[in-house]
């Protein structure tokens, strides 16, 4: 399978709103260290549709991050099926998973994870840096303008505030026009007010770009913005909670 195939099956030209952009079917993730066996995910069923904002909550160690890693193709499931835009991506090679991540998935992390030696603009360009992409710089610039950092494009991360860093990270996540944005505690390192403005940014892109957003969080504020909240307990979706928020 070539990169182009992966991009076209998972890119923005996908099916309609009723087909989930991402779907987990009975996904298990088991870590077997030899001495002990940890079941991080135990038969998780999950789906997110285009334009939907899903918050994943749950206590520490409940498997939230593992679920996000499996959804984001950073980690592969031990058992079960992962579908991206209707296509089975459970058993891709590292090379293929990397390519799908590049074209179809955006990541936002709690610690922002900007490269300190690169400018804001270069950080946004990062996912496009390897490979020939003549319009990448223009997209990066316009994304930075859209998140309100048009006057900060040549700044290094240490010259930016926490909220600004997270906006750069959002712009970076969206530079390849993915249909799925994954966020791991996106407001975890921000004060309430800044967190709110970052969430508004998410909301904005969800609405205008029809991007599905899955955010793992402890922050109740994130749940407020979400269309629905899924709660994970001991590696299982807590059924009572899974459709809360959808009337």
């Amino acid at each position: 399978m070539t990169d182009a195939d992966l991009a076209s099956t998972t890119g923005s030209s996908g099916a309609g709103d009723d087909v989930p952009i991402v779907e987990l079917r009975n996904v298990w993730k088991v870590y077997d260290t030899g001495s002990e066996r940890v079941e991080a995910l135990r038969g998780v069923d999950f789906a997110a549709r285009p334009g939907e904002f899903v918050a994943v909550m749950g206590p520490s160690g409940s498997g939230k991050s593992t679920m996000l890693n499996v959804v984001g193709l950073l980690d592969s499931a031990t058992e079960g099926t992962v579908l991206l835009d209707g296509r089975d991506v459970t058993d891709l090679s590292d090379r293929e998973m990397t390519s799908v991540r590049k074209h179809a998935i955006g990541f936002v992390f709690q610690n922002f994870y900007l490269i300190p030696s690169l400018t804001a603009l270069e950080n946004v360009e990062l996912p496009t840096l390897f490979g020939d992409d003549p319009t990448a710089r223009d997209r990066a610039r316009s994304l930075l303008e859209r998140v309100g950092l048009g006057d900060r494009i040549e700044h290094r991360p240490d010259q930016l505030s926490g909220g600004q860093k997270q906006r750069v990270a959002i712009a970076r996540a969206l530079v390849n026009q993915p249909r799925l944005l994954l966020a791991d505690e996106p407001t975890g390192n921000l004060d309430r007010k800044t967190g709110r403005s970052v969430l508004e940014e998410f909301d904005h892109f969800r609405e205008t770009e029809n991007v599905a957003i899955v955010a793992v969080t402890h922050d109740p504020q994130v749940a407020e913005f979400a269309d629905r909240t899924v709660t994970l307990v001991d590696g299982r979706i807590d059924d009572d909670s899974s459709w809360r928020g959808v009337s």
Binding site: N111, S117, P127
Partner: protein, 382 residues
């Protein structure tokens, strides 16, 4: 976009590598310094060898076409007769045959007396240059004085010198011919053959047109004069210079080898620096992988860092080596252009390539290690 931006766009690994290196300038500079020293050692030691060799060749070079024909004392031949000389002259088709007589003499000027060797040579202009005065084409009277003896006795052309009780006019002071030659009158005198009477010849010197011709002539003389009995020993200076050349070749190889060890040490320091910096940047590398940068691309970035260290170290080291070579050659040979002999350029190129390859090799393991790491693990650590 300016050209540098375009270059970076074309080779993003180089952009990342340069930025990463400039993050900890001191550490990068120290790692590059190791390479600088390694390249400097290899290239300048190689150049040093070239200088030695060129210096030796300058001392020897003019005699490469000389052949010395000496009587073989082991066969009971003490000296050559007129007939021997005629036979040599018959064999040597092209080139000069210079029979040399020799004896010990006392040389005096004023109250000073020295016991030195005197040579009888009919055409000394073939073998010697005048440092002062003039060497006559046909040497019939007067005396030529070696430069050391002339210094010793404070003699200059026009003075009178007493040799074995007879007075001679000094025609010229001879230039020093160096250590390697058949006749070295540096601390002696040269007299016309008439002053030696019918004395036999101590040796015969043949000057051929070239080193190759000298070799042929030497073989011809051996064939002819040693047909019945090993009467003569034929010595070619070119073979001596060849041996010396070989010797300096060995010294050169040894010096370059010593230099290579220092580059090896530099490689270890690069390995160390690259390992440290990739461990520090685990989280960042995890992000790169998460946003869709392939393993091979991560590897390329880190290799580019190592290569950049090697290139910078190599360029600086080569530049310093050229300066060192210039200084050495001005000081030793009085000829800075010797620095740019092809052999030296070869050393520079070799040292530079060696630096680049060593850097890349030392970057290989850290790069592989960083690229291989699972992005989830890497992100967790950051």
């Amino acid at each position: 976009m300016n050209p540098i931006d375009r270059l970076y766009r074309r080779f993003p690994a180089v952009l990342m590598a340069r930025r990463n290196l400039s993050r900890n300038r001191l550490r990068s500079a120290l790692a590059a310094l190791g390479i600088v020293i390694g390249v400097l050692a290899i290239a300048s030691l190689g150049m040093f060898g070239t200088t030695l060799r060129v210096g030796a060749d300058q001392q020897l070079g003019e005699f490469g076409n000389e052949i010395g024909v000496l009587p073989n004392a082991e066969a009971g031949v003490e000296n050559f007769t007129e007939r021997d000389v005629q036979e040599i002259e018959r064999v040597v088709s092209r080139g000069e045959v210079i029979p040399v007589q020799s004896r010990s003499v006392s040389v005096g000027r004023g109250g000073d007396v020295r016991f030195v060797r005197a040579y009888g040579i009919e055409s000394p202009g073939e073998l010697f240059e005048a440092e002062d005065g003039r060497i006559p084409e046909r040497f019939r009277n007067g005396v030529l004085v070696g430069s050391s003896l002339a210094d010793d006795l404070d003699v200059e052309p026009g003075n009178t010198l007493t040799v074995d009780g007879r007075n001679y006019r000094v025609l010229a002071v001879l230039e020093d011919v160096g250590q390697i030659s058949f006749v070295n009158p540096d601390n002696g005198v040269v007299l016309p053959p008439s002053e030696f009477g019918r004395e036999r010849y101590a040796q015969v010197i043949v000057t051929a047109e070239s080193g190759a011709a000298a070799n042929e002539t030497a073989m011809a003389i051996r064939d002819s004069l040693n047909r019945r009995q090993e009467r003569v020993v034929v010595v070619e200076l070119s073979s001596i210079t060849e041996n010396i050349d070989q010797f300096f070749g060995i010294i050169n190889t040894f010096l370059v080898g010593v230099g290579s060890i220092s580059l090896l040490v530099a490689a270890v320091s690069i390995l160390n620096v690259m390992l440290m910096s990739t461990v520090e940047r685990r989280g960042e590398i995890g992000v790169l992988r998460a946003v869709g940068v392939q393993r091979s691309e991560v590897m390329r970035t880190i290799l580019a860092e190592a290569a950049l260290l090697g290139v910078v170290g190599g360029v600086v080291g080569s530049a310093l080596a050229v300066l060192a070579g210039l200084a050495l050659n001005v000081y030793v040979l009085d000829d800075p252009m010797v620095t740019f002999r092809s052999r030296n350029l070869l050393y520079l190129v070799l040292a530079f390539l060696f630096a680049l390859v060593t850097s890349l090799l030392s970057g290989l393991y850290p790069a592989w290690k960083a690229a291989r790491e699972h992005p989830v693990e890497a992100l967790r650590s950051g």
